[in-house]
Amino acid sequence: MIKKVSKHIVQNESLLFEVSSPGKRGYQLPQLDVPAVDAEKVLGKSNVRGEIEGFPEVSEFEVLRHFTRLSTWNYAIDLGLYPLGSCTMKYNPRVNELVARTEGLAWAHPYQPESLSQGAMEVIAALESALAEITGMDAVTLQPAAGAHGEFTGILMMRALLETRGNARKKILVPDSAHGTNPATAMAVGYRVENIKSNSRGMIDLEVLEHAVNEDVAGLMITNPNTVGVFEENIKKICAILHDKGALVYMDGANMNALVGVARPGEFGIDVMHLNLHKTFSTPHGGGGPGSGAVAVAKVLTPFLPGPRLKRDGDLWKWHHDSPQSIGRVRAYYGNFGVLIRALAYIMAHGGNGLRQATLDALLNANYLRKLLEPYYEIAYKAPSMHECVFSDDWQAKKGVRTGDIAKRLIDYGFHPYTVSFPLIVRGALMIEPTETESRQELDLFADAMISIAKEVEDNPELVRGAPHSTRTSRVDEVTAARKPIVRWKPQPTESQAAD
């Protein structure tokens, strides 16, 4: 029985290029208060373009209607539970949107005088300090644009430190449960990647690790809690094994929503880590960005932080460009400042106690769902779950139904699917992260849907395999899209051209 959604009318809409007609316009510019100039004269004839072929020509209202119609084809956290494991889809508080648009902040130019940027600099300083407190690390850079960009920054700093010790070393160890960005990042910093096999409990195997660590190893990239939602209980030993051989430990902070206020990576031996402000700190995903990948480091790595660094000089904040050992800039200006404002507002709204409470609520929600679903889906690992729980589709696969099918069937029940087929170490993974901002009612609806699907798999597996059945767009042919990529619109040839 589908309780969460009913069918309703959805508007159709063409591409903007197809509704365009010559001469239509959606703008009005002010009268020019200076003399017009002849572009060909001042730029040279060859530097002036002809009209932009195919560019839209629509009215203002058509633009609004177009994008409003498109928006109704999306699922969003505002519509319901969005249980993507490792993605931390939590409520995006609207006050954060409001304060990020405060004029003096939103219209601050990165090169305006420092004396007229003190408010913006204070935001950066306050957030750096809060994130250092939350992670238990010594310093934070907010320059990286996203999580993978933060990884790159962190590994680059590790490399810089090792170089000053005389040997950058050759490889980075990555557990087989890691996010794909980890090995890709290690390569981008010029390291070889060595995969470390997880043990039967989904954790790093100390013996395997000890065997792998030698003088060629620059460091380990670890996710904690790991991607099966389990805390690496030997984390201190793991760090010690690396440190004993002069190697470093990078922590992927994608799952930090399980740790805020409960455990601090700086206290269990992590040397450098990134935080996804668009996960743990509630900034909106926006359909795939912007993110922000703050990087926190232990003292030994602070000389290598990207520049410039913010420093207090009397009553004023100043940008300092003079760190000789810095790895250099990883992007222009100071980072995704608009995202930083939102993250700081989130931290302020919660306070120290509230942040810890949010973590406990996230753990409670995940364990509650695990308990409700365990009779119907095979839990991948028995170890206690933190903020997410991972099942495998083993029981359903016997009926020929795989995790991807169950995911698509969830759509009919009014939910966004969980993370499908990740982590790779679990066969047919269903990775579920509800976050703390879901009510018990919403969790119960979701569990009901999952249980109902498990029964459908027994009684009518075809129904599940053919899902979704109720969406505006039925199952999309991704294979053809990749075989013959069409990545832009082109005008249809007219009949006479087509006949040629």
Binding site: L15, G23, L29, N74, D78, I327, G351, P384
Partner: protein, 428 residues
Amino acid sequence: MLDAIGLKSEEDLVSYLPADVRFDRQLAIEDGKSEYEIVDYFKALAARNANGYATFLGAGVYNHFRPVLVDAVVSRGEFLTSYTPYQAEISQGTLTSIFEFQTMVCQLTGMEVANASMYDGSSAVPEAAMMAVRITGRDKVLIARTVHPEYREVLRTCTQHQGMPVEELAYSESGRLDLDDLRRKLDEEIAAVIIQTPNFFGSLEQVDEISQIASTKGALLVVVFTEAVALGLIEPPKAADIVVGELQSFAISPSYGGPYAGIIATREKHIRQIPGRLVGETTDADGKRAFCLTLATREQHIRREKATSNICTNQALLALMATVFMSVYGKEGLRELAEQNLAKAHYLAGKLPLKFDAPFFNEFVVRTNGKQPDQINARLLNGKIIGGLALGRFYPELSDCMLLCATEMSRRQDMDAVAAAFETEPRA
């Protein structure tokens, strides 16, 4: 709920964490604040920034009007609070808008394919360089000193361990790439020549000539832009092999440096070498047109260490702002907007001693004739005007020069005030 999972208290949820790992103190962060206090806090901070100033800063970040429709669209929760559109059946809104974005970027740049956006313009430069390395099998790149200095710095940071030597190319007295220096440094080991147009000084580069020179040695041409409005009027860099740039000008507020949206566009034959996300057209099971993320086998979540890049996120919401902006202005509007920028900049430039004589769009370099740029800027600040960028910071040889930018937002009276600040002696 605790009962349901058989626990007595919330603390039991973390009781299995090793005792020496658990954090038992309280975070030193003030107690939670009300909505009112939060708004008040940020208003107070904003008041310590520039407010109500006219500005003539450009240098990669431009002061353009944001059509009201932009926030109306991006504030819709269906766009704002959705994830990356991996589940195509319930993400057609985002996917369709990205397909439109990719199309408009191609139309604008004269390229054949574009991706779903990059973090920003600066980080797109090393991605373009690495793409050129993959395509040519060579490893060196040349970059003009007239490319944004911070973009060049990012390129150096990102390529230092890729075995990719980067060499810079001088500029000529006209404020453009020195073609002789290019000819001197170009050889068969160069994968790419990277230029920017309009360049950091605002000057238009000689793209076709540079392309011809580069092709004599088989090097690819990468063209960077930071001022997207220029593309409403100036000839797109059709001779380029890869175009990267920054769309901040298209309705993305300056926001003290980010978040912005970068682009990367290229020729169809290089499509499998593009980093980042791509949206493609296909059909659904009923044969209806549909869109989905495609060519994922280039990406890190499939290929891991063999991916074309470690990039995971794009800048979808910012790309949507740019898409709405391009839709509102459209074919005629973008040109008219660009013409207004051109007129304003040439009005202001007409009153000032120009350093270079190459054609320029809405930015140009001015000599400060014996005065310190900071002196002039300080005087302008008294009249609530933020002047230009003192260039000595990035180009020591130009310490008596300033980069000024005028846009459709620049009022004539403020431009007259800028000109006056260059002429009269400062008051004692």
